[in-house]
């Protein structure tokens, strides 16, 4: 087990390096660099441009040096918690991102849990009642949910709530809690607002997982051992949950690897539509205003957290299902 974890962490390192390179490329993509935009911004507001400040900033980010040295200086800063400066907010990036990232992760985590909690029972129902009305209904809803992108669902939900309840859904907090420091009441308030984004973000994943769960369980139910157990008189409930469901759940758990990126991805765009105080809206804004250190840091951290989440799920899975551990070690 320890060997397996160590190997997985080792495999992660090249992934993280490539992620950081991609983020750095994104920071560098727009014409000009951070300093030119900073100077332009300063002269726009009529402030005098202090040569000494410029020179020190230039030195700090290595802007007069070749690209690869800039990359190393940037990544060195990142590893020490310095993500650069956001010129739009005139604050260090690290002050802006952590709370939003934490909220993004909270929303994603709840969506993930929602996905599994809803998908597995429905998948079991669909498989055990194959070709029943309920099965057709869930199949239909599933296809519809897969085809509807997150943000459109958010839009439709917002419209329905506004039209029929006069509510404007959006945000994660009631107005009185937005600026308030964290407290128990604020957490409860957040939970009350959480369910709409969670449903919106989780739907697509849920619909996909229902299909997988149904397919896996159907395959499993046709196997000989199920027939044997039934012939021996094992009760239907025990027959279902003792082995087939447990076997069929494994492929579902192992899909976290692709569920998580799509949830983070969906959370980004849904947050923009529902104006949640997570990474999405700020990322969009920073991209629009070419506040590239902020945008790049978001991309870097979102991708890194996704990769770490996948790693944790892989380790959990290996712990749950010994077959995976041995297969990978044998390979």
């Amino acid at each position: 087990m320890l060997v397996y974890i160590a190997r997985r962490i080792l495999y992660m390192i090249p992934t993280l390096i490539i992620i950081s390179v991609i983020s750095f490329i994104i920071i560098q993509l727009p014409p000009g660099d951070y300093l030119t935009s900073y100077i332009a911004q300063l002269s726009e507001t009529g402030e005098s441009v202090d040569e000494a400040v410029i020179a020190s900033l230039k030195k700090r980010y290595g802007l007069d040096q070749p690209m690869y040295i800039q990359y190393f200086m940037w990544i060195n800063g990142v590893l020490h918690g310095d993500f650069g400066q956001s010129f739009e907010w005139n604050k260090p990036v690290s002050e802006l991102i952590w709370e939003r990232l934490a909220l993004t992760m909270a929303v994603s985590l709840f969506s993930l849990i929602f996905t599994y909690v809803v998908a597995i029972p429905i998948g079991i129902y669909s498989a055990t009642h194959q070709y029943s009305i309920g099965d057709y209904f869930f199949t239909f809803v599933g296809f519809l949910g897969l085809a509807t992108p997150n943000f459109l669902l958010a839009l439709v939900l917002m419209f329905l709530f506004y039209k029929y309840f006069g509510l404007s859904v959006g945000g994660l907090f009631s107005p009185e809690f937005v600026e308030a420091p964290w407290s128990w009441a604020k957490v409860i308030d957040m939970m009350n607002h959480m369910w709409i984004p969670v449903i919106v973000i989780g739907t697509a994943g849920t619909c996909g997982l229902i299909r997988v769960m149904r397919g896996c369980l159907l395959d499993e139910l046709r196997k000989q051992y199920v027939v044997t157990a039934r012939a021996k008189g094992v009760g239907e409930r025990k027959l279902l949950f003792k082995y087939p469901v447990r076997v069929a759940v494994n492929p579902i758990i192992s899909t976290i690897g692709w569920t998580l990126p799509s949830i983070v991805s969906g959370a980004t765009i849904t947050a923009i539509v529902l104006s949640l105080p997570t990474t999405g809206p700020l990322l969009l804004r920073s991209l629009m205003s070419q506040d590239m250190y902020l945008a790049g840091s978001f991309i870097l951290l979102l991708a890194t957290l996704t990769v770490i989440g996948t790693l944790i799920s892989d380790i959990l899975l290996a712990w749950l299902d010994p077959r995976i551990r041995y297969e990978k070690e044998a390979a």
């Binding site: 090249p14 992934t15 490539i18 992620i19 991609i22 994104i26 993509l29 727009p30 014409p31 296809f143 519809l144 897969l146 085809a147 509807t148 992108p149 943000f151 459109l152 839009l155 439709v156 917002m158 419209f159 506004y162 039209k163 404007s168 959006g170 690897g257 692709w258 990126p261 799509s262 983070v264 991805s265 969906g266 980004t268 765009i269 923009i272 539509v273 990474t279 990322l283 969009l284 991209l287 629009m288 070419q290 945008a295 790049g296 978001f298 991309i299 979102l302 991708a303 996704t306 990769v307 996948t310």
Partner: protein, 379 residues
């Protein structure tokens, strides 16, 4: 299962025997077509897609109005009803009533009421607004329209008084073509990298597979957003269109590359490949005659299934304002108008493009499923 069925004596009628004979001499593609035809949902989807694409291809002809033609007197006009009945009873030719505008003096909201005195029968193949068909020649023939003086807004109008139906039809050309162009680009990248990976093996294979894994573990939307935000704002619309397509396919190629590599690896080890090699076939002949037909069907399936994500990607980006920009109009650009919930609550027809996006995506998914079942010889 199917083997047992075929041997059941009661099914061996004369007709069945004939069917069976043609079954054994049918080519692989004929077999697939036969299986595919049984998939009703997929057949229906083909019909829907052909309709959508025809609308997109001939949008100048199908749309009663131009993309940008504004009816200033009809701003935020709700979808018009098409009538078959009036006070005199049933009419075979449907018609619309004229519209009367009323402005609420307090809220300044405009509302429209049907003016029963004016009646405009719906006409097909009418001469209306002039347009340049495919930018090639001038024409003024439209699929349908009403007489001069009347207006027809099947799906309402937007804040500038532009006909939503016409704009959606024009948008179909962009939204649906971006899926095809994007998948085509992904196919090229996927074929080259997947082919290299499967053919060379070893270190190249490992590196390409790692890259694919990393790209797949990336949350796509933030990456798409960042890349398309980097397209220079002064680019002409057509270049932005191709820029967005390239951005979409830069991430979309991984699925295709995996299929190509997997199939290439499996087919390379087959006996018939070895036989062809022993018989002295050249590499090119082995690839084109023996390997390509083997996985062509899988590639087509994978392509069909990746078109929806391209369409959705473009729609999301344009919706956020990072993708296509007017004057290029796609369904995502149209939906940008529906961002504000208050506007949408007052004018719900602005959300109609959503239905078209979902229809197209569903149709491609069903088509892909049908193709996959048909292409799988063991199914």
């Amino acid at each position: 299962m199917s083997i047992f069925k075929k041997n059941k004596p009661e099914e061996r009628t004369e007709e069945y025997g004939e069917y069976e004979e043609s079954y054994y001499v049918a080519s692989q593609w004929q077999l697939m077509w036969r299986k595919f035809r049984k998939h009703k949902l997929a057949m229906g989807s083909i019909f829907v897609l052909v309709l959508l694409y025809l609308g997109g291809i001939f949008c100048e002809f199908v749309a009663p109005y131009d993309l940008e033609s504004r009816q200033i007197r009809y701003v935020y006009c709700p979808p018009q009803r098409i009538h078959f009945f009036d006070e005199k009873g049933f009419h075979l030719r449907p018609f619309v009533y004229g519209l009367k505008r009323k402005i609420d003096l307090v809220t300044l909201q405009k509302s429209y009421k049907e003016d029963k005195r004016k009646k405009y029968p719906l006409q097909f193949f009418v001469h209306g607004q002039k347009y340049k068909f495919w930018n090639l020649f001038e024409a003024d023939l439209h699929l349908f329209g009403v007489e001069r003086g009347g207006v027809i807004f099947l799906l309402g109008t937007d804040r500038m008084g532009r006909d939503m139906f016409s704009r959606i039809v024009y948008g179909a050309r962009i939204s649906l073509s971006i899926g095809l162009v994007g998948v085509f680009l992904s196919l090229i990248i996927g074929l080259i990298l997947g082919g290299l990976s499967g053919y060379l093996g070893g270190v190249t294979d490992t590196i390409i597979q790692r890259i694919i894994e990393i790209l797949r573990s990336f949350p796509t939307i933030p990456l798409w957003m960042a890349l398309s935000a980097a397209l220079p704002p002064h680019w002409p619309p057509l270049r932005v269109y191709f820029g967005i397509t390239i951005v979409l396919s830069l991430i979309g190629w991984t699925g295709l590359a995996r299929v190509v590599r997997g199939k290439l690896l499996a087919l390379r080890e087959e006996d018939f490949t070895m036989a062809a090699k022993v018989a002295g076939c050249k590499d090119m002949r082995i690839i084109s005659r023996h390997l390509l037909p083997g996985f062509l069907s899988y590639i087509i399936v994978q392509m069909t299934l990746s078109i929806p994500s391209m369409i959705l990607g473009e729609t999301s980006l344009s919706f956020l304002g990072l993708g296509l920009r007017p004057p290029i109009t796609s369904w995502g650009v149209l939906l940008k108008e529906a961002q504000n919930v208050r506007t949408v609550a007052l004018h719900p027809w602005l959300m109609i493009p959503v239905l078209f996006v979902i229809t197209a995506v569903l149709a491609f998914n069903f088509l892909g499923d049908g193709l996959r079942d048909a292409a799988d010889p063991y199914h």
